[in-house]
Amino acid sequence: MASLYIKNVTKDFGPVRAIDNLSLAIEGPELIALLGPSGCGKTTLLRMIAGFVEATSGRIRIGERDVTDVPPNLRNTGMIFQSYALFPHMTVAENVGFGLEMRKIAKDERMKRVREALSLVHLNGYEDRYPKQMSGGQRQRVAIARALVIRPDVFLLDEPLSNLDAVLRQSVGNEIRELQQRLGLTSVFVTHDQKEALMLADRLVVMKAGRIIQEGSGSDIYNHPNCRFVASFLGKSNFFEGHRQTGGSFTTAGGLTFRCPDSNLADGASALLSVRPESIRLGPEASKLDNTLEAKVAGITYLGSLTEVELGFPGSDNITVQLQNRPGAEFRADIGAAVLAGWTAGSAHLIADHGES
């Protein structure tokens, strides 16, 4: 529906800076995920959009309207809470109709729209139940209907799947995504779970210590993380510390030289080479690749669909390789055996090294 602009917003809780001069724009029907470890400020940011937390400085705009000083009940946002937050003393119909009642919608019209909203989440016929008579997944769907029935300008979701089990998480997640796309909702989704973010969001916003560290599509961020934190928060990775050399090569502190991908890092700059575990090939296959290494097998862990191989190198930390298992093509080797590992220049990624760990 409407667009959302957050401009230079800062929030201090006493001496603690929860949000640090953060700007973010969402135009049109997009689902963005605020992703980060606990304490990164993602929930605070969501609550600032809803109006529950006042900004210390900066502006928030929804569509054409500057809502920075508008109280939460007049912002017309639809929020989904982690705990469902249904009104336990009201029936499902009363819960869903509450926002319409506050908007002084006549009873007939209200009932009609409540029924429509409930059919959106496949809960027709549940009008007269009380929340405590429903399962967790059903409760969260009532909460979704309650938030959407008011036709919010922005749809806000605060870890909506975290109280559900794995199966429900998938199905409620799909339902949220489907509704968001069908209704064209401008949506902000808070989560600490990278898989949830990758599955549901158009765009990921990775946060840390009140700032946005990186934003972009899932594959953008996964393939081109701009720092070690992002590379390890989204998936696993192997890091080599070293320097970029002239002519597109990279020398590690341990003296290894790799051909490396294009990068806008200056020649001679201190850098990290990040190689994803699934990008590394082992055995004869590896010999044809841009970079090859003689390594020793330090450990093999069979994980069903994957096998994780730990490799040891002279002068470097162990690296991890993930091989997809296919019957008849499983990796077998003794601990300590020599093995050739390799990857293409393009499958690695260079990160500027600011000494962060």
Partner: protein, 264 residues
């Protein structure tokens, strides 16, 4: 074997606790003006006798008036105090919480003595006699039960999921509407518990009233005491039986609203 010993032990403890009640209910039906064991027969006579006795009747009515007013004041102001204590953070909040332990720290007898002297001082200096009316009693009983009300309603508020109120606000409700449509209904459990406890604690109390009642403003427990000074017949047992029944009924009714085991 261990299980047998264990259960006999618990049964013994229980019997020890329940015995006096069974005993007094039994005595209430004795068909004899004296306590003779075993009784010559059984009768309902003493209940009628108790109902006819103006001392008990007046005591019961005075008790009800005092208890009802004190409980109402306590629940209202206790609810407000609890909201402030739980919802606002202001300096000294922790200390206040601690001071609500006061019913434990201050013996009823001390509270009674303090109020007695205080009321006399007021009568002496301001010529307002709080003891001659029920006002003194109501003040005393309010002091007795207010901390209970604050604590029970406060415990309920602490356990409340605040995002439910935020959801209402997010859906467009003003703060007043949030309070009356969401917060207050969710406080019901705590309020019912507070009202119940206030009522029972106040209704049962003798110590506090003992010093500050005046003739004609006697509560039921005091009437019972006074009766025993000069009489010794099953009437007093009948009155006690009724008293237990009233409280038990109250607890049973409340249990339908809030599970007692969760709040006591």
């Amino acid at each position: 074997m261990t299980k047998l010993i264990a259960s006999s032990f618990v049964t013994a403890v229980l019997a020890f606790l329940v015995l006096p009640v069974i005993f007094i209910v039994w005595v209430a039906f004795f068909d004899s003006s004296f306590l003779t064991f075993p009784p010559p027969g059984y009768t309902f006579h003493w209940f009628a006798e108790a109902a006819r006795n103006p001392v008990f009747l007046n005591g019961f009515v005075t008790s009800l008036i005092v208890v009802a007013i004190a409980s109402t004041i306590s629940v209202f102001s206790g609810a407000m105090a609890a909201i402030v204590l739980v919802r606002y953070q202001f300096p000294g909040r922790e200390a206040l919480n601690g001071l609500l332990l006061s019913p434990l720290i201050i013996p009823n007898i001390v509270l009674g003595i303090a109020l007695y002297i205080f009321f006399i001082a007021i009568a002496d200096t301001l010529s307002i006699d709080l003891i001659a009316s029920n006002v003194g009693l109501i003040i005393a009983h309010t002091m007795l039960v207010l901390p209970w009300a604050v604590r029970l309603i406060g415990a309920n508020l602490i356990g409340m999921d605040r995002s439910i109120e935020e959801a209402a606000c997010n859906l467009g409700a003003k703060s007043g509407t949030v309070f009356f449509r969401v917060t207050l209904p969710l406080m019901r459990g705590g309020i019912v518990a507070a009202a119940l406890f206030s009522f029972i604690v106040s209704f049962e109390n003798l110590e506090l009233s003992l010093l500050i009642v005046s003739p004609g403003h006697t509560t039921l427990p005091i009437a019972q005491m006074q009766y025993l000074e000069f009489n010794m017949d099953p009437t007093i047992a009948a009155v006690s039986t009724v008293q237990i029944l009233v409280i038990a009924a109250l607890l049973l009714i409340t249990d339908r609203f809030v599970k007692l085991s969760r709040i006591v």
